[in-house]
């Protein structure tokens, strides 16, 4: 499969090198969940190389972070190793999210990891959604569970989801779907749409001060003092009758 590259004059705000990050919740060795992600990552890298765009790929394996993830859920704060993983996601230009299907759903490990991410960590980042399962009967899990999860996170899932049951590894159709999803991801990256969305609409999403997102407010220079709440903070009497809450309840 080949892609038509955007011609001159079409904005390609692609950063260089493109940082692609694989998140895999596979736990066996070798893991078909990781294999699916790796094949997809390789295809994305090939397409980017063809287009003359340098790229790097990193992998976040959730298995070794399982205890850290569980503790972060209990304590409310990630430990050092988990924080490193979160930082890599924050800095990624695009993701490949790959999870096994257990008991008719995505891996609890994957969901728990998603649960400790800031709501704004992945805003407008292109993502390929991928899942593996022991039977083709679970094929819709990726679209029925991963897609809404990434919709909540305001990411941009590629139109084609990837799913592999055991029999898929023996046929060529999976490879074609991988090519298609990789092409979609590369086109999303090259269009710069994710960055444009974040540039133009960032303040419209929920954020938390000093969060993990690369654009998070970290000090007075980043904070918007023109909001209704900030005006009330500076002695204003009449605030909004209904205000947008900040993330969290405390």
């Amino acid at each position: 499969m080949s892609i038509t590259m955007p011609g001159p004059g079409i904005p390609t705000e692609i950063s260089s090198p493109v940082r692609l990050v694989v998140v895999s919740a596979g736990v066996s060795e070798p893991s078909s969940t990781r294999l699916l992600a790796d094949r997809t990552a390789q295809k994305v890298l090939d397409l980017l190389r063809e287009a003359g765009t340098p790229a790097t790929v990193g992998v976040v394996e959730l298995g070794p972070l399982a205890v850290d993830i569980a503790q972060a859920i209990v304590s409310g704060f990630p430990g050092e190793r988990l924080q490193d993983a979160i930082n890599r996601l924050a800095e990624a230009d695009a993701l490949i999210a790959s999870t096994p299907v257990y008991k008719a759903g995505i891996s609890g490990l994957f969901k728990s990891f998603a649960d400790v991410l800031d709501n704004d960590l992945l805003i407008a980042k292109p993502v390929i959604l991928a899942a593996t399962a022991g039977t083709a009967r679970h094929a819709m899990v990726v679209d029925e569970q991963l897609r809404p999860l990434f919709a909540f996170l305001r990411a941009i899932p590629a139109p084609t989801s990837l799913f592999a049951a055991p029999e898929d590894w023996g046929g060529s159709a999976l490879g074609e779907r991988i090519d298609r999803a990789a092409t979609e991801l590369v086109l999303l990256l090259q269009s710069g749409v994710g960055r444009s969305i974040a540039d133009s609409a960032w303040t419209g999403y929920q954020h938390q001060f000093n969060g993990n997102a690369t654009r998070a407010e970290r000090g007075a220079d980043d904070v918007d003092f023109s909001t209704d709440l900030m005006r009330m903070a500076a002695g204003g009497i009449n605030g909004p009758a209904v205000s947008e809450p900040r993330v969290g309840t405390a």
Binding site: V74, G219, A220, M232, G235, R246, T249
Partner: protein, 395 residues
């Protein structure tokens, strides 16, 4: 620099004996803890308002009033007073009265509260928590500074010609700290008024709160109250002290590991990666000095030492060790490291001096009841005659 203790008045079974204090026991034990803190020379005893078991401080002013009567020098405070679900008018009245009872040994820390059901119990909506806290404090600030207040906001009945009684002691309102762990608007409000900002500094990684403290400092300077290093910063912390380090860890471990908040967490991780200090007096001192290194010179350090089901004898011993072995050294060390020009936290007497210099403080005396349980358009004999109460008109 002020040092003290803060408590949420939680009740938990003692994991080593199975004993659970009754509410009556915990309440009188809290009073004892406040007394002991006074006796060993600590500067602050702060009580955190809660409205749900297993916490008992639903009414901090009532309990603090008793502590005030039984102590001599300690400042009473809160950690926190709920600025969202309380009526700011009642806060103005209750804490002004407490300030009189404590002869000025009172300040308070206001905050939002994060227990979801408390909001509907008091007819409020947690989704408006920040706006409630901001608007209510704006009103409280005026109620303590203006004899007659006309006011209209989004969350409570408008006020016309309202006078909050009693007026603050010596007509000097209690100093206010704003407590927040994640909300820049609250830090902004603290900075706008030149009030204090307090980070509870527990249950989170070391220096997690530094960006918000720095934000407050910068905005304090922006609003012209002083330079950023003169902003009034308070920090919390958690400590368990024993003469020997290993005894501290051994004794404290079952309390930590059985407390619901910490189940599934490791004490060793918490000691390493959060402000929790468990060890010998010297270890507590060393760790607390890192707070000054990280946050800059600050004005108030409070420790939580009586939580998690500790029996009262152990809690009293903690207060004693803190007051006799830890704080005297910290006072000396922190003073030696302190940059010149960094102010102390305001107290009632410093605020009197600031307002009146060598002059006599104002003592408001009401005008006589004119027969309708009001004192006319000017509530006090020395009220500015230009300021008239506008009472609601019956039609």
């Amino acid at each position: 620099m002020q040092f003290g203790i803060f408590t949420v008045g939680d009740i938990a079974p003692d994991p080593t004996t199975g004993h659970t204090q009754s509410e009556a026991e915990r309440i009188s034990n809290l009073v004892r803890i406040g007394q002991r803190a006074d006796e060993v020379g600590l500067d602050v005893f702060a009580l955190g308002e809660h409205h749900n078991p297993p916490f008992i401080p639903s009414s901090p002013p009532t309990l603090l009033s008793t502590v005030a009567a039984l102590t001599k020098q300690i400042i009473l405070s809160t950690s926190i007073t709920l600025m969202t679900t309380n009526d700011p008018v009642k806060i103005a009245e209750d804490y002004a009265m407490l300030q009189h009872m404590a002869k000025g040994r009172l300040d308070l820390m206001v905050g939002r509260g994060n227990t979801v059901p408390v909001y509907p119990w008091f007819g409020k909506d947690i989704r408006q928590g920040v706006a409630l806290a901001l608007e209510n404090y704006n009103l409280l600030h005026r109620l303590w500074r203006e004899d007659v207040v006309d006011w209209e906001g989004s969350f409570r009945t408008p006020l016309q010609g309202f006078t909050s009684t009693p007026r603050p002691l010596d007509d000097v309102p209690p100093f206010v700290w704003h407590g927040s762990i994640r909300t820049p608007e609250i830090a902004e409000q603290a900075a706008f008024y030149g009030n204090g900002y307090f980070a509870n500094h527990i249950l989170a990684p070391n220096f997690h709160f530094k960006p918000l403290v720095d934000f407050y400092r910068e905005r304090f300077e922006h609003y012209g109250h002083g330079t950023s290093d003169q902003a009034i910063v308070g920090l919390g912390g958690q400590a368990f002290i024993a003469k020997r380090s290993q005894d501290a860890v051994k004794t404290f471990r079952p309390y930590f590991e059985n407390y619901p908040v910490f189940r599934g967490s490791s004490l060793d991780d918490f000691m390493k990666s959060t402000p929790l200090s468990v060890g010998s007096p010297q270890e507590i001192i060393d760790k607390t000095l890192t707070f000054q290194d990280g946050f800059g010179d600050y004005q108030r350090q409070l420790f939580s030492v009586d939580s998690m089901g500790l029996p009262v004898e152990m809690a009293l011993e903690q207060v004693e060790l803190l007051g006799t072995e830890v704080v005297p050294v910290l006072r000396k060390e922190m003073a030696a490291r302190r940059a010149p020009g960094v102010p102390d936290a305001p107290t009632h007497s410093s605020l009197i001096t600031k307002k009146y210099g060598d002059g006599e403080p104002r003592q408001p005396r009401p005008n006589p009841n004119r027969g309708d349980n009001l004192s006319g358009t000017s509530p006090y004999q020395d009220s500015d005659p230009a300021v008239e109460a506008r009472f609601p008109v019956a039609v």
